[in-house]
């Protein structure tokens, strides 16, 4: 199992119980501890103002200084707050960039209902940079695709959890799959370039995770580990107890929603065998199921004029989509 993938989806379950307590104290500290913008100041996009998304960059440790600089200089939180601005939530959703290690024992971003905050881990930025391929892959996935797609996909996934929580959305299926669906669906509401960047980047990550052994094992480890969680994840049965789908399931779910949402834009996924034909045949139905759920449960909370502006705004630089 790769440390990267494990950090993203394996430990989330173990963290949940302690998260609310830890993040509650973190929120209390936010107002005083947020770093001042060193400048140049962010120039907000006109017409996309929503005070419901306060932001905060917390002091990075030495390991995470470069990540902080990269994120802050691009005003990632400020941009993401504007991206979310059409979404009218009943409570503020705080966007926090922070060191997640060692406090949360995880590198991956997460939503916490205890303080209604999205936590952007500096460590995750480092992990994504490391995971991105140096050369374009056989599926045409570029380094920029992975970095951008993973960042965007992960943030949209965690935003999905926040939306389900704050809007009391009925979730009959597994919430982690639902959050992946949210990420893919939102990505698919933008231009083809943006769609493909996020879907390909997100899918590639899960493909690599599966290849690196993140799918459940098929045989019992003869030398089980002492740590109970790790021992479980190395067991051919217990590994399926995770609330997340397997890496391969998440790969195919993501590809499927892309193809289902726009068969023309993603037909190469099927042609090159990345998405099996047997699954592809069902993807239109899966996308329509998702679109129906979004329209019924989330769309009423989206400002239509601001949504149009967000959809017509260039959020990813051309270089990030190559």
């Amino acid at each position: 199992m790769t440390g990267l993938a494990m950090s993203f989806f394996r430990l989330a379950a173990a963290l949940t119980v302690t998260l609310a307590i830890q993040t509650a104290s973190l929120t209390r500290a936010l107002a005083d501890d947020c770093l001042q913008d060193p400048g140049p100041k962010y120039q907000p996009i006109q017409g996309l103002t929503n005070g419901g998304y306060p932001i905060c960059y917390l002091q990075p440790n030495d390991t995470n200084k470069a990540a902080y600089t990269a994120l802050q200089s691009r005003h990632i939180l400020e941009v993401y707050a504007q991206f979310l601005s059409p979404l009218q939530l009943p409570h503020p959703l705080t966007l926090v960039a922070l060191n997640c290690q060692p406090t949360f024992n995880s590198d991956s971003p997460f939503y916490s209902s205890g303080d209604r905050a999205l936590h952007f881990c500096y460590e995750w930025y480092n992990d994504v940079i490391k995971a991105a391929p140096m050369a374009t892959t056989a599926q045409g996935v570029t380094r920029a695709n992975v970095i951008t797609g993973m960042w965007a996909g992960t943030l949209l996934h965690e935003t999905g959890h926040a939306v389900f929580d704050m809007l009391d959305v009925p979730v009959f299926g597994r919430e982690e799959d639902a959050a992946d669906q949210m990420a893919a669906f939102i990505a698919l509401q933008f231009s083809k370039d943006v769609q493909r960047t996020i879907i390909k980047g997100f899918a590639y990550f899960w493909q690599i995770a599966a290849k690196d052994g993140d799918d459940p094992p098929t045989a019992t480890d003869p030398n089980p580990l002492k740590d109970a969680i790790q021992r479980c994840l190395d067991d051919p049965l217990c590994a399926y107890a995770d609330v997340h789908g397997t890496a391969s399931q998440r790969l195919y779910n993501t590809l499927c929603l892309g193809y289902g949402g726009d068969p023309d834009a993603f037909k190469d996924f099927v042609q090159m065998g990345w998405l099996p034909k047997t699954r592809a045949d069902d993807c239109g139905r899966e996308y329509h199921q998702l679109a129906f759920a979004f329209i019924k449960t989330v769309l009423p909370f989206i400002d239509p004029d601001m949504r149009k502006k967000v959809q017509s705004t260039q959020w990813l630089l051309p270089t990030e989509m190559q």
Binding site: V17, P170, V243
Partner: protein, 310 residues
Amino acid sequence: MRHLIAGIDQARRSIGSVTKRSICVAAPAVVWWVMQALPAPAQAPVPPTNPQIQVDYIQPKNNSTAANPNQFAEFTAIYAWLRVRRPLEEIQKFLAPVRLPRQIKIQVDTCGAESRPYVSGNPVTICYELIDEIEKLAASVTDPSLRQTVIVGTFTQTVLHELAYAVFDVLQVPIWGRIDDAADRLAAFVLLQFPGDVAHTATVGSAEFFLLSRKTWTGIAFADTTSPEAQRFYNYLCIAYGGDNLDFGGWTQAPQGQDPLLPDFRAKQCGYEYEQVRHSFNLRIMPYIDPDLLLQVKAAQWFLPDEISK
């Protein structure tokens, strides 16, 4: 209920070592269950049949192959006894409180596979192939009580799971997450609303069935829209434990040096998962439930193998 839990532990230890058996089905086990398990509720008034649910048992087709020459005979035996005992009619009564805006038909048919995907407007189908598989896997369970529970629980869960697709469709329920998992969670939730034996039979029986599955999941198999049996196993356990951590609390306990059946990190989430389904049900399905008929159905006894009800 201790023997049921012990049975699961036993099956868990043997997962992967279940061997194929040649079964000569003179009187299919599912039929034996139907004979034993479907007496009319003894004391409570019998709920009426839901007029919006139609049922049918279609005569099996002869799709026997060289690999499975007895299949047609097995299906025919299942068909004959289903026609006598009529378990789908039991489901018609069980679902009496659901006010459906249009009719749903549920049928048993030969599918050429263990399942036939639901298509809006078409019948919900329970495949002879799956009933046959339930019997064959259950036959490997040595404990007769547990074997009966596997058959009863899995059949009941299968029917509710398949019907969930049609209910989602007819009631226009928005589904977040994979629909097959949603159907599992709805089935598990519904069964948990009934007295202990129903919940135990359905949950333990289904869970055992998933454990007994011999399918190995790797690579492209994960592209399937259905989740791996082991994943479904934990989903069922989690909804049950989340909804009733007293009756099902044994799953989170283990002797010193051993791991519990339901690992701690998942068990801690199960209350949340159960509440999520309950919240979703109350928002989107409860408005279609007749409260008086619901009470009648809850007061009746359902799907009880005799050995458990004694």
